[in-house]
Symmetry: C2
Subunit: 199 residues, 2 copies
DNA sequence: GTCTATAAGAGGATAGAC
DNA sequence: GTCTATCCTCTTATAGAC
């Protein structure tokens, strides 16, 4: 269902969910900003929780699409460059969508009690899709001897995700776009110090 | 003011503030667990906000004490080792006090609207104390040519704090104590790749 | 689809007795 | 210090008219 009222509800709710949080966001405030009465919102969503998860899934879907687009576009280049381009594209995406990333970080780190269980389930599902993309690229790196095979696949994936999360959190906390040079420097340090050198 | 009831109030409130958050923590729930009536809590604290900040300051004070203890104990060793021991001690402290660190992370990243301004002010004050300790050690490193002087002091401090925050977040997210070997490996990567080599 | 009206309950906080 | 009793406000959600 997509019309002007609904789009507006989703936009306002998303912003409030990020900035003041699920518990402190109330239906009245959303509706006031959209300029409708609370009862009208319940025509589109059966509850606050329903509205929340509708937005939650949309944010994840958007992120996964970015991953898939990179893999699709770069399918015929070397796997190490593929991982590099994936990383670069994500840094760009994070910088342009800080608020979406803040949303995910907020609800994964500090889920409200009454939606915590559902968040955990949905998170597991979505992040599995994410992991599979990374895994596939790293498998290719190992197979072609670009990465030493004396280290576990899971280990490499964890190393990459930790690195990427660190960069993401820097972007969220500093709230500014990082420079290209800085992004590349971080990559080189990561690739040379954390991945290629076995510890 | 310290007696059994008050200690219990603080303990329960702290736990709820971390786990379910400020907004979702209500006076009735705290009091039920402490086994007192809500009106009794207001004998100790004039408001929910008052209770919160009393705990907030205590958590910070505890952390700053750890920093000062290290500096005091290691005042006569080389500054690079001093920074190393500071880092080691903090990792130990973080691992043993994950819940306290989760508390600080939660309210610095996502402060509730009605206490956000006060948190920001208090945060600035406390983290300044923290920065001065780090700064002093790094100044010594630069003066003794342990760290290249072609890089800015602020730059080094930022580099260290970013590194330390990354480690902290890994501990909070994984929720497990890191092994000594892993902690040392991270340090070496940080010291050799991020600090000594100018970029 | 959007409204008015309102149910039903939870929340922070206080007055005043003991 | 701790209690009983209560005030007042805010919140999600629904019934039913238009």
């Amino acid at each position: 269902m997509s019309n002007k009222t609904n789009d507006m509800i989703r936009y306002v709710a998303f912003r409030l969910f990020v900035e003041v949080g699920y518990e402190a966001t109330n239906i009245r405030d959303i509706c006031e900003e959209v300029d409708i009465k609370p009862s009208s919102l319940y025509f589109y969503y059966k509850s606050k929780e329903d509205l929340f998860f509708s937005i939650y899934d949309e944010v994840w879907e958007d992120k996964i699409n970015v991953l898939n687009n990179v893999v699709e576009l770069k399918h015929n280049i070397s796997p190490s460059m593929k991982l590099y381009f994936l990383y670069k594209r994500l840094m760009e995406y994070y910088s342009e969508n800080i608020i979406k990333m803040k949303f995910l970080l907020r609800y994964h780190l500090f889920p409200p009690e009454d939606v915590a269980a559902t968040i955990r389930d949905k998170y597991r599902e979505w992040s599995n899709k994410e992991d599979r993309v990374i895994e596939e690229i790293i498998i290719q790196c190992i197979e072609r001897n670009i990465l030493p095979y004396d280290r576990d696949l899971k280990d490499y994936v964890h190393e990459y995700k930790t690195f990427e999360r660190g960069q993401l959190i820097e972007i969220i906390i500093s709230n500014i776009r990082k420079e290209d040079r800085e992004i590349d420097n971080s990559w080189l340090r990561f690739w040379n110090c954390s991945m290629s050198n076995s510890v």
